[in-house]
């Protein structure tokens, strides 16, 4: 799906846990997520901390959208 959105001309960032899969399917902007059942969360944290964690990942993703890239790029910590 990532490629089709990109093909339509819209910059897209993929937040996903298994980064090698994202690379294989051809996403250009990739942000690693927390875990498979909760990519943007962590039930072990209290709600406020969890939301802060989610915010950090979303900020990283939005930031990735503002960075010019020429090839597949993983935006790590």
């Amino acid at each position: 799906m990532v490629k089709e959105v990109e093909r339509a001309g819209i910059p897209v960032v993929h937040i996903c846990t298994v980064v090698p899969i994202s690379l294989t399917v051809g996403a250009n902007r990739i942000v690693p997520a927390i875990a498979i059942p909760h990519p943007l969360g962590n039930p072990a944290l209290d709600p406020a901390e969890e939301k802060a964690l989610r915010r950090k990942i979303v900020e990283k993703a939005l930031n990735a959208l503002t960075v010019e890239v020429t090839e597949q790029t993983v935006f790590e910590k």
């Binding site: 799906m1 990532v2 490629k3 089709e4 959105v5 990109e6 093909r7 339509a8 001309g9 819209i10 910059p11 897209v12 960032v13 993929h14 937040i15 996903c16 846990t17 298994v18 090698p20 899969i21 994202s22 294989t24 399917v25 051809g26 996403a27 250009n28 902007r29 997520a33 875990a35 498979i36 059942p37 909760h38 990519p39 943007l40 969360g41 039930p43 969890e50 939301k51 989610r54 915010r55 990942i57 979303v58 900020e59 993703a61 939005l62 959208l65 503002t66 960075v67 010019e68 890239v69 020429t70 090839e71």
Partner: protein, 349 residues
């Protein structure tokens, strides 16, 4: 030579430990054959025995690849097997990636003949078919018998270091290897034969199938987030509670488009996941964990982004055919463009 000693790798489900709720199972090893191992062992007809079965949860492997690989390698090493077999994984994505990764590691680092099996669309297939032999299987465990029937002969050849034939003959996924051979007719004759067939509208077989690169170059970056309209898309199956459009939990035949105008937070009463390929408990309690509406709404209020698009698109990535997800996305991307969306955040589980 006595019986061949095999170590087999399977996931938590085929080991009978549990389903998605046990996908975080750490690597463990048990003596003898388990689950599909019984079929594999039977397939060797007394010539081989599975001396040990290594089990690892699919999510644990996916989230801790390096540690899991290292732990599994240690376990395999301990048995000094003649052969290593992983899976078959069919269309289970995380399982296929794990099987491919561990088969490659055993082959490269322990020098033991190794192979695995999975469906051609399994993400693990594209990732590992170049480095390891992957038997091509059906897309579900219904194909177990056929998978084993193909894995056993190839395994025997790998152990006895026989020449491995072409993919169509041995049943593995093409690895991109080119082998020179002498043909009966010279190239120009074969080319003319092919052209004649093509002109007559007859079937012909190309000697060189073009590889499917299909990479899409990245689009230019967003210049100003504070003015940008951001849309959310997910393969994690987040839907309004009750799944009104009945998106399937696996092999989805459709996608959903839902209106979050006025929605600032996804809650246990209003949204859930339809996805059957991961433990749904966390997403059901708070769907923001897969589709981060709450955080994006905050950022919208603070002016950090221009606007969160009122519609989000969702489907279930579990075993959904590549062609289907391509079709869905091509369709809804047109709407995203028409709606003036500047960028998309796509989340996957």
């Amino acid at each position: 030579m006595g019986k061949l000693r095999i170590v087999h790798y399977i996931n938590q489900f085929f080991a009978g430990i549990g389903g998605e709720e046990k996908a975080d199972h750490k690597p463990e090893v048990r003596e003898g054959a388990l689950g599909p191992g019984l079929a594999i062992q039977a397939g060797f007809g007394g010539e081989a025995e599975i001396v040990a079965t290594v089990i690892c949860g699919d999510s644990y492997f996916g989230e801790n690849m390096e540690e899991a690989k290292a732990a599994v390698l240690e376990m395999v090493k301990g048995y000094s097997p003649d052969l290593f077999i992983a899976g078959p994984a069919f269309n289970a994505g995380r399982y296929g990636v794990a099987c491919g990764a561990i088969t490659e590691a055993v082959q490269a680092e322990l020098g033991i003949p190794a192979l695995t099996g999975m469906y051609i669309e399994n993400p693990g297939a594209d990732m590992y078919k170049k480095s390891v032999y992957i038997i091509s299987t059906k897309n579900s465990a219904v194909g177990m018998k056929d998978a084993v029937a193909a894995m056993v002969p190839l395994a025997k050849k790998l152990v006895s270091k026989e020449v491995i034939g072409a993919p169509e003959v041995e049943g593995y996924l093409p690895r991109g290897v080119r082998k020179n051979y002498f043909a009966d007719k010279r190239g120009s004759e074969r080319a003319v034969d092919m052209l004649l067939k093509k002109l007559k509208g007859e079937e012909f077989e190309t000697e060189y199938p073009m590889p499917d690169f299909d990479r899409v170059p990245p689009n230019p970056a967003v210049k100003d987030l504070s003015k940008a309209k951001i849309a959310l898309v997910t393969s994690g199956g987040i839907v309004p509670k009750g799944n009104p459009d009945h998106i399937e939990s696996s092999s989805a035949s459709k996608y959903g488009k839902y209106d979050i105008d006025g929605v600032y937070d996804l809650t246990v009463d209003t949204y859930a996941t339809a996805h059957g390929g991961y433990d749904p408990v966390y997403a059901n309690l708070d769907a923001d964990r897969v589709l981060p509406v709450d955080v994006l709404r905050d950022m919208e209020k603070e002016g950090k982004i221009g606007e969160l698009h009122r519609y989000f698109y969702t489907t279930v990535g579990n075993g959904t055919a590549v062609a289907s997800s391509k079709k869905f996305a091509a369709e809804f991307s047109k709407e995203l463009v028409a709606d003036g969306v500047d960028a998309v955040i796509l989340t996957s589980t």
